[in-house]
Symmetry: C2
Subunit: 119 residues, 2 copies
């Protein structure tokens, strides 16, 4: 097991970092339903706009959202790739964990009847 | 959309924070295959043991692993609940995103044939 600090690892670092905050998760939760202007995104939060903008910048830097300014309106949309990579990483670990439980279950299930079965 | 800083949000904050580091992800990736002693966990990493122990403490504090010391050996194992909650959160967002794409696809697919359909 050697750890390569490759782009994929960096992308996962960023995605999980972005998701480790309830405001940022709420923004992602809003944007999966469609694009939204910054003012609309900010309105549910009891937070000063500069603080909220900081969260948006983290989300954009970490690759979870994109934004585009047209005239005076900045519109944000989800960048689904990072979310997908984070999900696949966790799902892969969960599958390994479940396979281990299955093997353990087979072993424990087989044990009372005798010692003939191979694991 | 009101954000409650409840236990579930705190658990998600912790889980995603723990996963935002390649060493910690590698430890999780090892422990889903079965428990391991700290010395075994540390061996693949070119990192001083105190630094590595810091990562283990973060993982334990953030609820992703448990550890138990018997005699002089501390053994770590996965605590799968936090991983499951993190996965469910992302999967829920991805499903909403896909539903939106489906509706968009229906809309775009329907459009050329006329303007009668509602979105």
């Amino acid at each position: 097991m050697v750890i390569h600090m490759d782009n994929h690892q960096l992308a996962l670092d960023s995605a999980f970092h972005a998701l480790a905050d309830p405001t940022r998760r709420a923004v992602v939760g809003r944007l999966v339903r469609g694009p939204a202007a910054v003012t609309e995104l900010a309105s549910p939060f009891a937070m000063a706009l500069p603080s909220f903008m900081k969260h948006l910048r983290v989300l954009e830097k970490d690759g979870l959202i994109r934004s585009e300014k047209i005239g005076r309106v900045r519109t944000c949309r989800i960048a689904p790739k990072a979310l997908g990579e984070a999900e696949r990483w966790i799902a892969g670990r969960r599958e390994e964990w479940e396979q281990r439980l299955d093997r353990l279950g087979d072993y424990l299930g087989a044990r009372p009847t005798g010692g003939e079965q191979d694991e």
